[in-house]
């Protein structure tokens, strides 16, 4: 049982950083949803705000690390150009060209990877905005329904983006592993 260097970084990207973000989302969403003046005591709200601030900044950091690692370390391995005339054995080391070499797999790149590599970047931007507002304007978030609703929208879209990127990342890595 062993991982190559590329498998290690790919697992860190998807199974630790990306999955960590996705797993943390439901807790963060529930905490933000429940941050209502009529549901909490002042002491309870202060405690929840501290947890939310730490959690949302943690999620933003996970999202940034996942996206930067994916874009600048793993994606270059994925898209590295295969030598002309490379056969099936050699193409195994060039996932993008392996997928494009067969009609039944080329959509994994042309739809899946093209969507994943772009939509993933929305996630850290939106997660950072949520984390900043929760940490800096927590009392107002609790008091202002409209502000809390706007944050819930940003937070949910960031989850959707991470989910699309994570799902396609896992499926593409199954069809053409980065090794």
């Amino acid at each position: 049982m062993e991982l190559t260097s590329r498998e290690f970084w790919t697992a860190l990207h998807g199974m630790v950083l990306g999955a960590g973000f996705l797993l943390a989302f439901s807790g963060g969403f529930a905490a933000l949803w429940g941050l209502r003046p009529d549901w909490l005591t002042a002491e309870g709200a202060a405690k929840l705000l501290r947890q939310l601030a730490v959690g949302s900044w943690g999620m933003a950091i996970l999202a940034w690390l996942a996206v930067l690692l994916g874009t600048y370390v793993i994606y270059p391995w994925y898209r590295a150009k295969a030598p002309a005339g490379a056969g099936a054995d050699l193409l195994a080391g060039f996932p993008k060209y392996l997928l494009l070499s067969k009609p039944q797999s080329k959509e994994w790149h042309e739809f899946g990877m093209e969507w994943k590599e772009h939509i993933a970047w929305f996630c850290p931007i939106l997660a950072t905005a949520v984390a900043f507002v929760v940490a800096r304007y927590g009392q107002q978030v609790a008091a202002d329904t409209k502000l809390r609703r706007a944050l819930l929208i940003l937070f949910t879209v960031s989850f959707f983006c991470a989910a699309v990127a994570g799902a396609f990342g896992a499926l593409i890595n199954k069809a053409a592993p980065t090794r």
């Binding site: 003046p37 874009t71 600048y72 898209r79 929305f122 009392q139 107002q140 609790a142 008091a143």
Partner: protein, 112 residues
């Protein structure tokens, strides 16, 4: 519950919300522009191993931070009178960004 703050300016919070949506919309726009024009794609190729994704992400992040800086400077001391309008604008910009990176749409406007 008495500690909730109903009166402090939240302009800085709304600036962060709208700026994030602007950043996403710019990312979608620059993705489409790179697909429509090979020369734009080449300009965005600032880190060759990553290709034009390096430039698209740099432009998107720069647009987000620039918008955030400008909006924060203008709104941080203000009480926003029509927050619903900012939410609506943010949702529209987010949708534009999401459509802008959706491959069938990108292929359609690029004529693929």
């Amino acid at each position: 519950m008495t500690a909730m703050d109903h009166t402090s300016p939240t302009g800085g919070a709304w600036a962060a919300v709208l700026a994030a949506a602007i950043g996403c919309a710019c990312f979608g726009l620059v993705t489409d522009l790179a697909e429509m024009s090979k020369s734009i794609s080449n300009v965005l190729n600032i880190h060759n191993p990553t290709g034009d994704l390096s430039g698209k992400s740099a432009v998107g992040v720069a647009a987000w931070l620039l918008a955030w800086g400008i909006l924060h400077a203008r709104w941080r001391g203000r009480i926003i009178r029509r927050p619903g309008g900012i939410t609506l604008l943010s949702v529209v910009l987010l949708l534009l960004g999401l459509v802008g990176v959706f491959p069938p749409f990108v292929d359609m406007i690029a004529g693929h």
